[in-house]
């Protein structure tokens, strides 16, 4: 059942284009029923998970490698799965209104549903490798969805950037997860989380932690990888709301929470996760203030919230994890709603620029209501869920001292200001002149934000709905120990309440002066964007790739050969020297004078073949070398070889001489320095081969099978010439292959000679060959 819940999304993705062709923009209401049904199914699993027994399913694939499709729905997974399926349903409905009449709406549905299924896979996976596969699928679907407006170059660049950053993080994550699995002795998450002591004392722990963190940080847009998220706003707004606010960017946070029982506890975890989280939180919050585009504003504010979540997981105390879980839920509800509101505003007014908007509440009352609820939750006002989460955050921060609490309060004051800019200012005050007269958005586009805003209110008024059932057990899963979470709106007059009030005042103060600060803040924060590093890296990578390709794939035969020979010489020499294999032959028979003569003949012939400028001379020299080799065969007991070599060599020379009749004379085509370089390379290769032969002579690593052939030649093959017996009998199939090669070669020769002659148009003539002229 739980496997079907993941697979259903992929199935729905396949039929979504067909359904959309049939129902057009109304398809969203039908397609949205699947995620809604999944949400109900996941909700039905909550009581069981809260009771401590997670729902599991398992399909074994490769038992020995620890590979199995195992899914597990505990409270932490269910919290995420509910967000994914629930917000997924709203987003599918919303997209029908937002992209009404768009020709590619069906494709958008397909990819959103495929994303949903992948994301459910990430949060439900109990096997590290299964998790990784789904993780990469979310990166790919995100890439396609960001680039949905693919006729827009900016959207394509943003999509590629998001893919490179998140998939690059994925490249780090995979070895990280493998190392983790090796350190813990299992790839099953539920078992891994019980092995904390074993993992953290393993020498693999450090690298595994670093790699997993890079994966999580890139996905969740943590500093210095945060820059892709604002650019990803090139995606259609429903996609931004869904992937880049509510779900996918939380995958990194989810992974940290999921693995924290196994990885947390040491200073490395606390400082890296907490430190990066705090930096991201402050930077994102400050950068959000500098934006005027509603979606970019929300994107930076999302980065800030993800930073805060990361910080809380880094702190890792029971209270911090409780706060993280409630904040995760609260943030998904209010930020998802605000994104959808921003999309509705853009849809109706044609602009997303905050300074151009005002007084829309009269024209768009329902949107304004949804915006108001979400905004109040984001600002952390009672009686909304945002207030409760903020109180929890402050309480857990106070446990570590007031400086941390004040830092977080500063960030949340930024967040108050942002909520005002998005949810308050566009709707109230004097209406501003707009190019388009605003109307209320269609029901499909107000339904989602209203429901999300309403849930913020319901969970705020009745926190008992979620504390012991969902948020508490989820925090327990991240902690690896039970917690007793009891949420309430009123905590009494605590320091947290005081800090909340101060946050609100500061945030409203910022909101009043925001217009004066924007430009200055923008200039001050510019150097902190790590996007330039990305751009420089991308340029360098492309240059290096082009250079390497030109070097290796030049299309010139000589360069390929040079690289091959150079590599062989370098690797061969290195191996000979390093392994100490080089030595002079132990049993070297003294050469006779005629043997020396033959050796000299071969070398002289080789030299002549290389140096002569006469074609006939070169071929004759090659033939002489071949005859010399044949003489060596003759001297050292191989008359068969000698005979064959004599015959073949004569035949080759005759062939060459015949062909020369139709071929041009030799031309010097290279410069002196080129020839010197080639000669040096050739001599180096020759020297290495000499060293190789010297080392190989007389080395017998395994017993030879030759004695068997010698013994069996007469008795089995009835032959006295052992070489012949080997060729035609013992290794007869080999010889058959050789005959086939010769036959094919002969056929080729025949075909080439008989092929009708056809001159290529514009083929260069030797006379018009400038290189030949200059080099001669």
């Amino acid at each position: 059942m739980i496997i079907a819940s993941v697979a259903a999304g992929f199935g729905a993705a396949l039929i979504a284009p067909v359904v959309t062709r049939w129902l057009r923009h109304r398809a969203g209401w039908l397609l949205g029923t699947l995620p809604a049904a999944l949400a109900l199914y996941f909700a039905s699993l909550i009581p069981q998970a809260a009771g401590g027994s997670a729902t599991t399913a398992r399909l074994t694939w490769v038992e020995d490698l620890g590979l199995s499709l195992s899914l597990r729905a505990d409270s932490l997974s269910l919290l995420m799965a509910l967000l994914i399926s629930g917000i997924g349903a709203l987003v599918v409905v919303y997209a029908g209104g937002y992209l009404k009449g768009h020709p590619a709406l069906g494709a958008l549905y397909a990819w959103i549903l495929a994303f949903m299924a992948s994301m459910l896979g990430v949060v439900l996976a109990d096997n590290l490798l299964v998790l990784f596969v789904f993780w990469e699928l979310t990166s790919i679907t995100s890439f396609i969805l960001i680039g949905f407006h693919h006729d827009n170059e900016q959207a394509r660049a943003a999509a590629l950037q998001a893919l490179l950053v998140t998939a690059g993080g994925g490249l780090a994550l995979l070895p990280g997860l493998v190392l983790l699995g090796m350190a813990g002795g299992t790839f099953e998450l539920s078992e891994l989380n019980l092995q904390a002591a074993r993992i953290q004392s393993s020498p693999l722990f450090g690298p595994a932690l670093a790699l997993v963190l890079i994966g999580a940080f890139t996905k969740s847009a943590q500093f210095p990888f945060h820059f892709w998220l604002p650019n990803a706003m090139a995606a259609p707004t429903p996609v931004s709301a869904y992937l880049h606010s509510a779900t996918m960017v939380k995958a990194g946070v989810y992974l940290l929470a999921r693995l924290s029982p196994a990885l947390a506890g040491g200073p490395a975890w606390a400082f890296s996760v907490g430190g990066i989280g705090a930096a991201t939180m402050l930077l994102g919050g400050a950068m959000a203030l500098a934006q005027t585009d509603l979606k970019r504003l929300l994107a930076y504010s999302t980065i800030s919230a993800l930073g805060l979540l990361t910080l809380l997981i880094g702190i890792g105390t029971p209270h911090a994890l409780e706060a993280a879980m409630v904040l995760l839920l609260a943030h998904a509800l209010y930020k998802g709603a605000l994104f959808l509101v921003a999309g509705a505003v853009e849809h109706e007014t044609g602009t997303r620029q905050a300074p151009l908007l005002g007084g829309l509440a009269r024209a768009m009352p329902w949107t304004a209501a949804a915006a108001g609820l979400a905004m109040l939750s984001m600002a952390g006002l009672p009686p909304l869920l945002g207030f409760i989460s903020k109180e929890l955050v402050y309480e857990s921060a106070f446990e570590l001292g007031w400086p941390l609490a004040v830092t977080i309060a500063l960030t949340l004051a930024f967040s108050v200001c942002v909520s005002g800019v998005v949810g308050l200012v566009p709707f109230w005050g004097r209406p501003k002149p707009l190019e388009r007269h605003p109307h209320e958005a269609p029901p499909s586009m107000t339904f989602g934000p209203l429901l999300l805003g309403g849930l913020s209110l319901v969970f705020g008024l009745a926190p008992g709905l979620i504390d012991g059932r969902l948020a508490g057990p989820a925090a327990a899963a991240a902690l690896g120990a039970p917690v007793a979470l009891k949420l309430s709106l009123w905590h009494g007059l605590t320091p947290a309440l005081g800090l909340s009030a101060a946050t609100l005042v500061l945030g409203l103060g910022l909101l009043v002066f925001i217009r004066l600060m924007r430009t200055r803040l923008h200039a001050a924060l510019r150097p902190w964007g790590s996007e330039r590093v990305y751009q420089a890296g991308l340029t360098a990578l492309n240059l290096a790739a082009r250079g390497l390709t030109q070097l290796l794939q030049s299309g010139y035969h000589r360069r390929y050969l040079t690289i091959i020979v150079l590599t062989t010489v370098a690797a061969g020499t290195f191996t000979l020297m390093r392994s100490g294999a080089f030595n002079w032959p132990a049993a070297d028979s003294p050469p006779g004078y005629y043997e020396l003569g033959v050796a000299l003949l071969i070398v002289a012939a080789a030299v002549m073949a290389v140096t002569t400028s006469s074609r006939l001379g070169a071929v004759a020299a090659m033939g002489a070398a071949g005859y010399g080799v044949a003489l060596i065969y003759l001297i050292f007991g191989a008359p068969d070889l000698a005979m064959t070599q004599f015959l073949i060599e004569s035949l080759t020379v005759i062939l060459f001489v015949l062909a020369f009749h139709h071929l041009p004379p030799f031309a010097r085509l290279t410069t002196v320095s080129e020839r010197a370089g080639d000669a040096a390379l050739a001599l180096a290769a020759g020297a290495m081969m000499t060293a190789l032969v010297l080392s190989a002579v007389g080395v017998q690593l395994y017993p030879s099978i030759s004695p068997y052939y010698v013994q069996a030649a007469e008795s089995l093959a009835h032959a006295r010439n052992i070489v012949n017996a080997i060729l035609v009998d013992f290794r007869g199939i080999d010889t058959l292959g050789e005959i086939c090669v010769l036959a094919i070669s002969a056929l080729g020769v025949f075909a080439l000679l008989k092929m009708p002659r056809r001159k290529a148009e514009g083929a260069p003539t030797p006379e018009a060959d400038p290189q030949a002229e200059t080099g001669r």
């Binding site: 070297d588 028979s589 073949a609 050292f636 032969v693 030649a713 070669s745 290529a760 083929a763």
Partner: protein
Amino acid sequence: METVLAFVIGGLYAAAIYMLLRRSVVKLLIGLGLLSHAANLLIFTAAGLTRGRAPVVTAGAPAAVIADPLPQALILTAIVIGFGVTAFALVLVFRVYSTLRTDNLDRMREADA
């Protein structure tokens, strides 16, 4: 003698590789021929040399010390295959030259484009 032959093989390899690096495609063919001599001699030498005793069984029992027949069988195959390759390559070059009117490998690449 093994030492001497090792240097002969090295010389053949050097000459073959130098010829293979030429732009003139006919020189490349000669390099190919030299390369097959070098490789055959390498196998022959590396297996160990035995003077004068051909691997032939005479009158019932083989002689006590004879040359190793196995590398000889391998080289015999290699010589013949080498000839097939050379003959085919030579005719190919002949056809290429009669079509493109150049024996310069770099110019052939341009004609290809």
